[in-house]
């Protein structure tokens, strides 16, 4: 009888979760992003606490710094970005996608799997749907602003009270699993924190170097392409190619010379070499390393599910799963739970 009741309770919990989770997916997303952000910012608050500043004050200071950097960045980058957007839209207006494809075909012959008409049709369909949805865009912007404010609030409280929250959650764990949970949470937290911070730092370095290199090579949209290269660098193996391709295409369209293509390729190869020899070995944690075959498979799965964004998230998500499952398995074995 007891087992039947337990089974029914478990079933109703699973059913309610299945109903609640999709309904609350945007809130859950915000909480997850806030958790990641607090994981990234936590060492900064700890550093201030280490210097004798109270945690509340430290959290406010870190937040003030982030807001200052965002505002300053916006102020300095807005002219560059708006200039690039204007140029980009002018480029689209002056040359139809068909003409761009013609130019590429002219220089390199036909691109396999892509016909001129395909590209034109796809872009037309996309533009029509954007115009149709222009009303919803306004609401989307409003909800994005609300989400940003919520994200800031939740991140702030995770930063300030994260330890107390963790302690409160652990206090609910039964005695038998208490020590194991404590050590597992600590290990996952430390390894993932180090990994995520490392990845972001590498992306920032590669992005900055790419922007600088493209600026020096006088490639148009250097800021966008450089930033994209930094982000794409988080995708192992494919990332550098994804990052370099737009720069090479722009170089072809602008100059059409092999020299410009070679210069961009050499710049990206040098940045990759620098990253692999001098940056990653010192920053990215080895404990989260995945087998190359696993990396390729998860990137392909990520690409299939969510496109480029999925490819970007694939390795971090796989690393999170790897670390979490490894530590849970360690705990279950060493604490003789099974």
């Amino acid at each position: 009888m007891r087992n039947i009741i337990l089974f029914l309770v478990a079933l109703s919990v699973i059913a309610s979760l299945l109903w609640i989770v999709p309904a609350l997916h945007s809130v859950i997303n915000i909480v997850i992003i806030a958790l990641f952000l607090s994981l990234i910012l936590d060492p900064m608050v700890n550093f201030l606490e280490n210097r004798g500043i109270q945690r509340l004050v430290g959290s406010i200071l870190v937040f003030a710094l982030i807001i200052f950097l965002a505002v300053a960045g916006f102020k300095f980058l807005a002219p560059v970005v708006s200039h690039e957007i204007k140029e980009l839209s002018a480029g689209f207006n002056s040359e139809s996608p068909g003409e761009v494809m013609d130019k590429i075909s002219e220089k390199f012959g036909d691109v396999p799997f892509l016909s001129n008409q395909d590209v034109q049709q796809k872009i037309k369909m996309k533009l029509t749907s954007i115009l149709e949805n222009s009303f919803t865009v306004v609401f989307d912007i409003l909800s994005a602003v609300v989400s940003m404010i919520m994200l800031a609030f939740i991140t702030f409280f995770f930063l300030k009270d994260g330890r107390r929250m963790k302690k409160a959650i652990i206090s609910w764990v039964p005695n038998r699993y208490f020590e194991m949970s404590l050590i597992i949470i600590h290990k996952i937290n430390t390894q993932l924190g180090r990994y995520i911070r490392g990845q972001l730092l590498v992306a920032l370095i590669v992005g900055s170097l790419s922007i600088l290199a493209l600026y020096l090579l006088e490639i148009r949209y250097y800021f966008f392409i450089g930033a994209l290269a930094g982000l794409a660098n988080m995708i192992p193996y494919f990332g550098p190619v994804v990052g370099a391709t737009p720069a090479i295409i722009i170089a072809v369209l602008d100059t059409g010379t092999m020299g410009a293509i070679a210069a961009v390729a050499v710049a990206f190869a040098t940045i990759q070499l620098f990253e692999n020899v001098f940056v990653s070995p010192f920053i990215v944690s080895k404990s989260v390393e995945l087998h190359p075959l696993t990396i390729i498979i998860v990137i392909l799965i990520g690409g299939q599910l969510l496109g480029l964004f999925g490819m970007l998230l694939a390795v971090p998500v796989a690393s999170i799963i790897k670390v979490t499952s490894r530590e849970i398995a360690w705990g279950l074995k060493n604490y003789r739970i099974f």
């Binding site: 606490e49 206090s171 208490f178 020590e179 404590l182 050590i183 003789r336």
Partner: protein, 189 residues
């Protein structure tokens, strides 16, 4: 004659006030009891009030039933425990499968402090012999505290080193006595 002080108007009773008042009162008294208990532990006796306050924030309160295991022999050590109420026995499993009682600890006593230093397996098990309430200080929280408050971390590690040094001296002394006894027996035989 001094004018009679007007009495304060009687406020209607609020259930909410009583609930919140009791919650905070309970929390504060728990905190004070924990700090008073920490102060009695040799490891923390040189800590200032604010340092004890910081330590109290990372301490976990756990309750165990009679005969419930706090930890088992061979499990990775995570931290130390201080008995707030009740009693705990430390026992070790013998080759014949029987438990050998090594010590019985009462209120205010502590155990498992070596696990603050590393993850090596527990050399014995700890079991509550009655309804027991304990405070736990654990390595992950201590490492994090050391990063945030290195002065407190250094002081605590120094006290831990001192405690271990004292124990080593005591063990050496006992070993010497055993050797002497063995020597005497050799002479006699």
């Amino acid at each position: 004659m001094a004018a009679k002080k007007p009495s304060k108007p009687q406020m209607p009773f609020h259930v909410g006030d009583a609930i919140w008042g009791n919650i905070f009162k309970n929390e504060n008294s728990q905190k004070e009891t924990a700090i008073a208990l920490l102060k009695k532990v040799p490891l923390f006796k040189k800590m200032s009030k604010s340092q004890l306050n910081d330590l109290e924030k990372i301490i976990h309160r756990r309750n165990y039933k009679t005969d419930e295991n706090i930890f088992f022999e061979g499990e990775p050590g995570v931290g130390m425990y201080i008995i707030r109420e009740g009693s705990v026995i430390i026992n070790k499993m013998q080759d014949n499968g029987k438990k050998e009682k090594l010590a019985e600890l009462k209120k205010g006593e502590f155990f498992g402090e070596l696990a603050l230093l590393d993850e090596s397996p527990r050399s014995a098990a700890a079991e509550a012999t009655e309804e027991t309430s304990i405070l736990g200080l654990f390595r992950p929280d201590l490492i994090e505290l050391m990063n945030r408050k290195p002065r407190l971390g250094n002081k605590l590690l120094f006290e831990l080193a001192h405690l271990i040094g004292e124990r080593l001296k005591h063990t050496n002394k006992e070993l010497e006595e055993v050797w002497e006894k063995l020597d005497e027996q050799k002479i006699i035989t």
